[in-house]
């Protein structure tokens, strides 16, 4: 096939299309909170692979680096992807990359780093456990991922994720939402037609 005349999409980054782990973890963590918060505030986030790594960036905030690391560890135990067997976990994350939870049973990958933003903010810093894979079976190999399987651009050498300055059209102000549910009534009306077990698409 002559690639220049090809009538189909040339290439798709399959790792970005994946929505879950190859071997389904028992529980998938939630980490979207931090990501969206980060993007909304247009802050810079750094990934550190050790406390020392963080202190190098913030020599005067060593305590904050340590507590952000501890918080990430706690979060990892809480939200890390859980696998029923060590084999399943290692299949995704690589040999010797997993541990059994103290509470018993399930296996989770070791935290490979932690992502921090707003470390010096008077409000509060954000911190999240980060994972990577050493498994040749995994599309996450040498990439940074979050507990929910979100894959970051670039390989694990990339440590800074910065959101560009907001040069776009200004957003209107919202103080509070007065009312919800003003859209969707047609669907409720049409759904009552026919068998209620058949809730289909409203597309075409």
């Amino acid at each position: 096939m002559d690639a220049t005349n090809q009538k189909r999409t040339r290439g798709i980054d399959l790792s970005k299309m994946r929505k879950s782990f190859a071997l389904k973890p028992l529980i998938v963590g939630m980490s979207g909170v931090m990501l969206s918060a980060c993007a909304d505030n247009r802050t810079e986030a750094n990934i550190y692979t050790s406390v020392e790594d963080c202190i190098d960036d913030y020599p005067s905030a060593a305590d904050l680096c340590r507590s952000a690391y501890q918080d990430a560890l706690t979060e990892a135990a809480r939200t890390g992807p859980r696998f029923s067997t060590e084999y399943d976990c290692e299949y995704e994350f690589g040999p010797n990359q997993c541990r059994q939870l103290d509470t018993g049973g399930v296996f989770i990958p070791f935290m490979a780093g932690y992502m921090v933003s707003n470390l010096l903010s008077p409000k509060r810093y954000y911190t999240q456990p980060m994972y990577t894979s050493y498994s040749r079976h995994s599309p996450f190999r040498s990439r940074w991922i979050m507990a929910d399987g979100y894959v970051f651009d670039g390989d694990i050498r990339k440590r800074k994720y910065k959101v560009r300055e907001d040069i776009y059209k200004p957003k209107p102000t919202v103080n509070r939402t007065m009312k919800r549910g003003g859209f969707g009534s047609s669907v409720r009306a049409k759904s009552s037609w026919g068998s209620s077990s058949r809730k289909g698409s409203w597309g075409g």
């Binding site: 096939m1 090809q6 009538k7 189909r8 999409t9 040339r10 798709i12 980054d13 399959l14 970005k16 299309m17 994946r18 929505k19 879950s20 782990f21 190859a22 389904k24 969206s36 993007a39 909304d40 560009r164 907001d166 776009y168 059209k169 957003k171 209107p172 102000t173 919202v174 103080n175 509070r176 939402t177 007065m178 009312k179 919800r180 549910g181 003003g182 859209f183 969707g184 009534s185 047609s186 669907v187 009306a189 049409k190 037609w193 026919g194 077990s197 058949r198 809730k199 289909g200 698409s201 409203w202 597309g203 075409g204």
Partner: protein, 390 residues
Amino acid sequence: MLRVPHPPRAHWKKLAQEYGFHFHTMYGEPYWDESAYYQFSLKQVEQDIEDPTAELHQMCLAAVDFVLDNESVLRHFAIPATAWDAVRDSWQHRDPSLYSRLDFVYDGKSPAKLLENNADTPTSLYESGFWQWLWLEQEVDAGNIPKAADQFNSLQEKLVARFKEIAYINQIDQLHFACCKDTKEDRGTVQYLQDCAREAGIENHFVYIEDIGIADTDVFTDLADRPIVDCFKLYPWEFMLREEFAEPLLEQTLGWIEPIWKAILSNKALLPVLWKLFPDHPNLLPAYFEDELSSGLSGKWIKKPLLSREGANISLIDLPTGHTQMLSEGPYGEEGFIYQQFAPVPQFGDNHTLIGSWLVDDQPAGMSIREDKQTVTQDMSRFLPHIILD
């Protein structure tokens, strides 16, 4: 055009799970069906599907111009008069559109005939743009399909490119995405578009249609109280314009995708307008408004509601006797009907086969095949992959 039986990949359901394709089976029936594929020649795809798709789209755009210049015609579209100005403004601004799907009757030999234009809320996008693409890649890699095989499917590439253009045109770096609750299929379609938008560098937020709120400042909001300024909605304009929030909706200029002028393009009233503007065009079927039906008409005609989804409320009428056979039921039709000459889709064995031809903006971008055991393709039909091989 051939239907070729083909063994399914052993682990495709597991793969579907990993990729988040959760609606491959619906109502306990298979929807994604890889027990066969359709094979086309390159000439069939390019001359019979791709070129007519580009041409029909241009004809449809010309029809929008005509409709908006002629209030007596616009009246036939059952769009609330309060929204006419918004439709005209959006059309004059050339608010950017993302995608459409034309449905064709095509048997591999005769010219493809346009059944309808799904220009506002087309679904089956993920299975077209990504899932059948992955099927072909894997089956070629596994040596089960010849290396020379191709597919008419540049959807994903074009969607990402189009999102970049829309971001530039509308000056945005973020976009909301919305669809209704309780439908995995719609949520899957929207998730796919979110993935494409992310690939284009656009930050995306999801909100269910039913959860959209209105703020004290008359701005729409999502559940986190973020203002909704630009939004892709997999929800038909004809519904939005008849609901409680229609008033604030029309009071503000928001970047909706699809834009409101698509309410003309996706309306079945477009079909008689096309026939009037381009009579005897090889890719059109004769079509008339109810009040235009002349006594001279004979043969079999399909009566379709102006506004409807997934082949609902279709009847087959014999003229001049007027004998009517209901082909599908549904909750639509209160806004009126149009009549289109009956053109049965071809049969391959027991299967009635319908071609969907995709456009991203005005570029033909791919093809999808749906099969049904019934004559009218509805939401219970199955989706089959296709290849191009000469």
